[in-house]
Amino acid sequence: MNLKQKLRPYKKRPGSFLMLVLVVGSAVITFAVLSFLVIYILVKGISNITPELFSFTYSSENVSLMPALINTVSMTFLSLLIAIPLGIGAAIFLAEYARRGNRLVSLIALTTETLSGIPSIIYGLFGMIFFVTTCGWGYSLLAGACTLAIMILPLIIRTTEEALKSVPDTYREGSFGLGAGKLRTIFRIVLPSAVPGILAGVILAVGRIVGETAALIYTAGTVAQIPDSVMKSGRTLAVHMYNLANEGLYMGEAYATAVILLLLVLGINTLSGAVAKRVMKG
């Protein structure tokens, strides 16, 4: 069918034609904006990537992003270390133990939903008041990681719960039938079959951690070096990028940092897409 034939039904229907134009036009705008953003950052940034940017100590001469990159990795590990056991434990409780309509369960569901709607700046402020000041940790990787852990907790709980619920009950019955206890069934049978789903959630969480700024500025602080302990301050890549753009002195380096951030996010998205595909296949 060529274009002319396709457009024939619209000849006497200008209203419908207008809607068609709006629909296609909006889609074109959305994806044009996305492509422009990605291409613009890549084109402007790649030429600014220099070997000095990857030196292990930051100085105002090299404006290295390597410490920030390493801090991002350690921040991700620390946050996941806290959030994954809690999140998976919570999801196991919700999916395997809790009865429907239980008051505690609906309260947990309500608070989890509330947490997922709270903007990151509120987390940052809470982290500053609680972890930094009240707990007396100061600006530190640990304070940042705890704040981020609370932030990604709802995401991990939700995806894990869904993954656990999609494991067929026959698996559990089979395991019980062979004489395994509940705990053994969960850890040997249910959790292993839910791993791809859980992994997809964790990867999404990593994406949020990598891109987070507002929750970290007043919890992990903005020191541009690699800290020698988790109780010291260190900025992640997103915070580094914000500081560069804010100072306005190192725009070339800011472009380069944006490229690295964008590539990280692209990689994380591709990974989660691949994992999700495996989940679909089962």
Binding site: S16, V23, I157, A214
Partner: protein, 287 residues
């Protein structure tokens, strides 16, 4: 054996209660640090005072409330129509071959960090808006309500597209086919039958988008100008509730610091109200 099973059960239950504990802690610490400041400043002076001047002990956040509402409204103007139309495209028009890449594009749009959006806005949108403002005779530095609205409009697109698309897909196919069989065009069937049937899902997507726009900080801070005064034109700068906190928290002390936490309390209450709206909508959808 029994002992171990029971212990594990308790451990899981305790893990599940972390989210309750987190919400309770956030509420306690925000309110305990913010409410006294609101009392000290006075509720009317704090909420409707038009001057924010920590140097002179003036703490009125009305300009910031209006600022947040302005950029959010602006983001809705750009984001909602484009988002809903794009969702219709994704659910109903998109050729199968390009659906995969486009879907991944929407995911990418959601995954791009807000600092990268902000940086893009700073380098690309701000100069263009400055030129536009000057050529129209409004002036302005380019960091303005309009710039922030455009950028936020981009940022809420993936939220609106994602939720609306799945709502559209959840509408039974018979609705669409029935409308077609009655002689309606494809567009009439979609916009007069399928979209209204997906209404509550679409509204949920929009409300979630609003929540994202109100709560966004880092992108706004880079393009909105951040002047703490009443808005006077879309080409002029503005400060929002979120950016007020980040801008001044670094050096604030005493009442100033508490007033900033109180700003967060106001924001928090706004967000809780939006969350409640989403929860109500979801409950209605289930019925």
């Amino acid at each position: 054996m029994k002992y171990r099973e029971e212990g594990a059960r308790w451990l899981f239950a305790i893990a599940a209660c972390t989210s309750i504990a987190a919400v309770v802690l956030i509420c306690i610490f925000l309110f305990a640090n913010g409410i006294p400041a609101i009392k000290e400043i006075g509720i009317p002076e704090f909420l409707s005072g038009k001057v924010w001047g920590p140097g002179n002990d003036k703490y009125g956040i009305f300009p910031m409330i209006i600022g947040s509402l302005c950029v959010t409204a602006g983001a809705m103007v750009f984001g909602i129509p484009i988002g809903i139309f794009t969702a219709v495209f994704m659910a109903r028009y998109c050729p199968k071959k390009i659906y995969g890449p486009l879907k991944r594009g929407v995911d990418l749009l959601a995954g791009i960090p807000s600092v990268v959006y902000g940086f893009f806005g700073l380098m690309v949108l701000v100069p263009r808006i400055r030129e536009l403002g000057r050529s129209l005779g409004y002036g302005g530095s380019g960091s303005s309500i309009l710039t922030a609205s455009l950028l936020l409009g981009m940022m809420i697109l993936p939220t609106i597209i994602g939720v609306t698309e799945s709502a559209l897909r959840a509408v039974p196919e018979q609705y669409y086919e029935g409308a077609l069989a009655m002689g309606a065009t494809r567009e009439r069937s979609i916009f007069l039958v399928v979209l209204p049937a997906a209404r509550s899902g679409v509204i949920t997507g929009v409300v979630l988008g609003i929540g994202r726009a109100i709560g966004e900080t880092m992108a706004v801070i880079m393009v909105a100008g951040n002047q703490a005064r009443m808005p006077n034109g879309i080409f002029k700068g503005i400060r929002t509730l979120t950016t007020n906190i980040v801008l001044e928290m670094g050096y604030a002390a005493g009442l100033h610091r508490e007033a900033l936490i109180a700003t967060a309390v106001v924001l928090f209450v706004l967000i809780l109200a939006l969350n409640a709206a989403v929860a109500l909508l979801k409950r209605r959808e289930k019925r």
